[in-house]
Symmetry: C2
Subunit: 322 residues, 2 copies
Amino acid sequence: MEQAEKILNGDVRAAARLIRDIDDGIPSSRQVVKALYPHTGKAYVIGISGFPGVGKSTLVDQMIQEYRAAGKSLGVIAVDPTSPFSGGAMLGDRIRMQRHGTDPEVFIRSLATRGHFGGVTRSTHSIIDVLDAMGKDIILVETVGVGQDEVDIVTTAHTTIIAMIPGMGDDIQAIKAGILEVADIFVINKADREGVEKTINELRTMLEMSCREDSNDKWHPPIVPTEAIRNRGVPDLLSQIEAHKDFLFNRGREYLKERLRKRAFKDLTDTVKETVIAGIMQQLESSESFQGMIDELAEKKTDPFTLCDQIMEVFYAQKEKS
Amino acid sequence: MEQAEKILNGDVRAAARLIRDIDDGIPSSRQVVKALYPHTGKAYVIGISGFPGVGKSTLVDQMIQEYRAAGKSLGVIAVDPTSPFSGGAMLGDRIRMQRHGTDPEVFIRSLATRGHFGGVTRSTHSIIDVLDAMGKDIILVETVGVGQDEVDIVTTAHTTIIAMIPGMGDDIQAIKAGILEVADIFVINKADREGVEKTINELRTMLEMSCREDSNDKWHPPIVPTEAIRNRGVPDLLSQIEAHKDFLFNRGREYLKERLRKRAFKDLTDTVKETVIAGIMQQLESSESFQGMIDELAEKKTDPFTLCDQIMEVFYAQKEKS
């Protein structure tokens, strides 16, 4: 595996090509990730999520700055599963982080697609593995929005950060109990705005009301006010991340083990799903009868379940022959 | 199919039970939807999407009111794929629409889950089919957020509405070219707020810049300002929906055909994916070696691709035997 070796030796162009291949769903990328896999597990992965407009990219930009000042190397992935077509919105984010573009110790990539058959979570995990194998100390994964994909992505991180802004009011409701349960640290960015105390209090109340499984003798998620654009509060955020890391590797070791097991389950089942679905889709799209089936269905001459039964019969008959 | 007949005869409790079964992924629900399928295709489906906080539920509530005044029966589905756990945020929405709760011609359901192996899109399509078979004139599908799932859901509607509010500024960026391309009508709700003209102008500019495939001789999406809470602009919105319906069934007939074909493709492939994945997941979870595989993977003793290859061998060997 020439490409894998190059990446292990720090070849940025080889890594960039592999990441593009993973993002594009090129099958050969699997073998390279497989070869890199034994070299992973050393990086510390931090996930950052939150609604658009809370200033996540500025926050990530300042975190990069702080980690670089501390001598850490970084891999940064901006995942945007809400953009099914052009992915145009990432452009602004890329520009915001551009000052780190010439730093060889910072490797930034945006994922525009939502992944292929295994979903964006599968692609993102593979790309985290690539950055990990490259020897990056810290991997920052930024996601746009707070949907299920984003939750899946960020909860596989060591430390999950949810960013919000003051005065979200009803929108805190929209952040939902589910997000409250997965966040390790909350950031209230743009903390110079009115209503920051109110937002912190509301959030604290919601946290106390929610039944976090791990809340008794374990980690209590801190709420960190920041003004990322003025770099205020970002050093405090990094201290809280360090405290959470310390928790995970000491008191919270069983909890960390459980998280790694969950990620392993998801990685394996997503890989299996991706493989099975890629197989059947390939067979479907090369089948002569498939387009006719779609036409019949569009005209309501049949239903998807009847067609599915027919396809299953052919699929397994084919497999038996092969 | 006793349950299917009951639903066709307007039995609301039978319909509610089926919808719950679909939402819970109960396999037997498939057969009932299959029996209902020939009775679908008559309802007009309207999708409404937009970020949390733009007032979608109030808008939907007023639309129900207007359609009822015009003598139409309605099915309303509120889909919330961003809520992986408790789905608590829907509660407020349900309360907002409660005044229609005693009207037998209005059937409202919230989907809390994100669907099962076929995803929330598959479940939502089946539930649209149920409401359609019940004989509802209009089906309103409201989704929270603007992710890929939401796009998939609303673009299968006849008319897709994207709701926003004035002064979203940067967030219009976040709405992305992708959403611009799929919307048939834009609503600027809370139009009494400052900046409504600016938002309309920004949106108009973005629409002109975006290369909508169908923009030359076809549909030009109107921008409708509303104050749903005071019912201002909602009758105008309904007129625009009517105009779009008229377009689809006349000048845009080829375009409508293409949309129905896309929905058929998605329905069939999602059903196939759901079936294949359900089969393999059942086999995996009942297999003795699966838990050991997860442990090995969590400890990085192997990689997901090697394990996947092993699983594939066993899977197809099993299928050949059966």
